[in-house]
């Protein structure tokens, strides 16, 4: 029969030699490899106590950004949702009423904003699509949970702490790689 590829190898069916029949050299060879690993550096990281450094391009859980005055950046433009290949993001917009100017930066805002973390694949396209600096993938893992329904994250779980009310938590949430924002949009 003609071989389908050129990489076919014929199986050797020669009887074993005396040294091979002893098995002991092969066993010792294997044991040496096992023993050698005992002196190697341990690759295991005891996760919650010890944390590995993240790569600078690590994409973790989403965070909804606020500006320096604590107003939400998101205007519910829907570009993240239309860019999302897993269709994890849903939102409903509302109009900012007089008196809500300190809460939302623009005339329109996301009254509801949800990310279904069961669907999210952490591709980061929402971050790339966002024209308002509003969504970022942070350096945090999405926490594990026992129930599926805990994985639909709404605004209370996604929003970054308010820099006016809780500056320390805000600074912590910004992480190491955040660039201080100048709010160029406000200056226009």
């Amino acid at each position: 029969m003609q071989a389908l590829t050129k990489r076919v190898k014929a199986v050797h069916r020669k009887p074993m030699s005396f040294a091979e029949k002893l098995y002991l050299p092969a066993i010792f060879k294997g044991m040496m490899i096992t023993l050698g690993h005992a002196f190697k550096k341990r690759p295991t990281v005891n996760y919650p106590e010890v944390k590995r450094p993240f790569s600078p391009v690590f994409r973790g859980m989403q965070i909804l950004n606020r500006d320096a005055e604590g107003r939400e950046n998101c205007t519910a433009c829907g570009l993240c949702a239309v860019a999302c290949p897993a269709e994890a993001i849903t939102m409903e917009a509302a109009e900012r009423q007089p008196g809500e100017e300190h809460l939302y930066r623009e005339e329109k805002y996301a009254a509801k904003y949800e990310i279904n973390m069961l669907r999210c694949i952490f591709c980061g396209l929402c971050e790339e699509a966002c024209p308002k600096d509003a969504i970022y993938l942070s350096e945090t893992f999405a926490p594990a949970d026992y129930k599926r329904k805990q994985f639909v994250y709404n605004k209370s779980e996604l929003l970054i702490p308010n820099p006016k009310e809780d500056p320390e938590a805000y600074k912590k949430a910004l992480g190491n790689r955040a660039i201080p924002t100048t709010n160029s949009l406000d200056q226009q």
Binding site: C77, G78, A94, Q97, A111, N154
Partner: protein, 380 residues
């Protein structure tokens, strides 16, 4: 046989646009001749609207180069001409995409149109079907050189249904032509001149004409938008379907596009043709009345014909899948009529698309208090 004298048909003019020759009757504009060829050859038009008499000549986006005026006078025209206002001549040679001058001139025109434009596409309801967006992407340059503060206006309610954002207006005059030609009594127009020119009503007089809603459809930008759809949804998350109803108004054609989300009708517009203009049926333009547009927001009011054809490259078709054949539900059959046990009902977990809140039935933009329906479940 012998007495049958054939009358000489009116001689057609031969015009060559981007090396494509076409014969058109005299009196046709270059733009309309190019539209008969179709495709990339057609210049973009922001102010010209073939269904509105007298429109065109304002925005200059349809500039083309005329390389030869006619067979009789083959000299080129010294400047680029507005193709919507220039009629063809026999033997005329027009360059649009093959011209070197036109892309540059058009980029300049786009820059001028965007001078005072707020570029608030993320909050604008027109985004996704905006002609200025398309024009900017196709012909504009990235970035702006404008250093001064932009012209600003306070947004205005003109009538109960229409929201006017004068900041976004490019002064194409299409809406005033609609008011002149379709509605009975015109109560709005352009006031002031030059940089101060603004569309407004006569001393904030409400527009309550039966056909005033059509100015939303003709507006190429988001200056005139539907207040009943304001901020409800993005255009590309709603599904357009063709539908019709027997409208009592004799002037209304009753044929419309419904923009659905599930069974909810979020918005009703007239059907658009390939140039983004309202479609014509048997030579009559299919304007729709305000009752059809603003009051019939339920699927049972309409006879749905099927999905609206959307260009493959349009964002409106994004994330929508055309199911050719819906497979039968087999679970009930297999389980002896029992419904499958759901492990998670999305409405218990998610606050979006709450069945208790019908955003499409609101006649205004939704606000924060509309979303607080379940006090025990605080989704915020």
């Amino acid at each position: 046989m012998a007495d049958e004298i054939k009358k000489e048909p009116p001689a057609n003019f031969k015009v060559t646009i981007d090396n494509i020759t076409i014969e058109v009757p005299p009196g046709t504009s270059i733009l309309n001749a190019a539209r008969q060829i179709g495709g990339d050859v057609t210049p973009p038009a922001m102010c010209y609207y073939s269904k509105l008499a007298g429109s065109g000549g304002k925005c200059r986006t349809c500039l083309v180069e005329v390389a030869a005026g006619s067979t009789a006078d083959p000299r080129p025209m010294p400047k680029l001409v507005a193709s919507c206002r220039t009629n063809v001549m026999d033997g005329m040679i027009v360059k649009n995409i093959t011209s070197e001058k036109v892309p540059d001139a058009r980029a300049g025109v786009v820059e001028f149109l965007l001078l005072n434009h707020p570029l608030d596409c993320p909050i604008c309801d027109q985004a996704g079907e905006c002609h200025l967006q398309d024009l900017g992407y196709d012909h504009g340059k990235a970035g702006t050189r404008y250093q001064f503060s932009r012209r600003t206006f306070v947004r205005e309610d003109i009538g109960p249904y229409i929201q006017l954002h004068m900041t976004r207006c490019i002064l194409c005059y299409r809406c005033t032509y609609v008011a002149d030609q379709i509605t009975d009594k015109r109560v709005h127009g352009i006031v002031d001149r030059g940089d101060h020119a603004a569309i407004s009503t006569y001393i904030s007089k409400a527009i309550d004409n039966d056909f005033s809603g059509n100015m939303i459809d003709v507006c190429p930008v988001g200056a005139l938008t539907d207040k009943t759809f304001r901020f409800k949804n993005r255009v590309w998350f709603t599904k357009p379907v063709d539908a019709h109803r027997n409208c009592e108004n004799p002037k209304c054609c009753g044929k419309a596009t419904l923009w659905l989300r599930g069974e909810e009708v979020f918005r009703v517009t007239a059907r658009k043709d390939e140039w983004g203009e309202v479609q014509s049926y048997d030579g009559k333009t299919g304007w729709i009345c305000n009752t059809c547009r603003f009051d019939k927001k339920e699927t049972k009011d309409w006879t749905i014909e099927g999905l609206t054809a959307i260009s493959r490259h349009s964002v409106i078709g994004a994330n929508k899948y055309k199911v050719l054949e819906v497979p039968d539900e087999t679970i009930a059959k297999v389980m002896g009529g029992r419904a499958p046990q759901l492990t998670m009902d999305i409405h218990e977990v998610s606050g979006v698309n709450n069945p208790k809140v019908d955003l499409s039935e609101l006649q205004r933009a939704s606000k924060s208090s509309d979303f607080v329906q379940d006090p025990e479940k605080n989704w915020e």
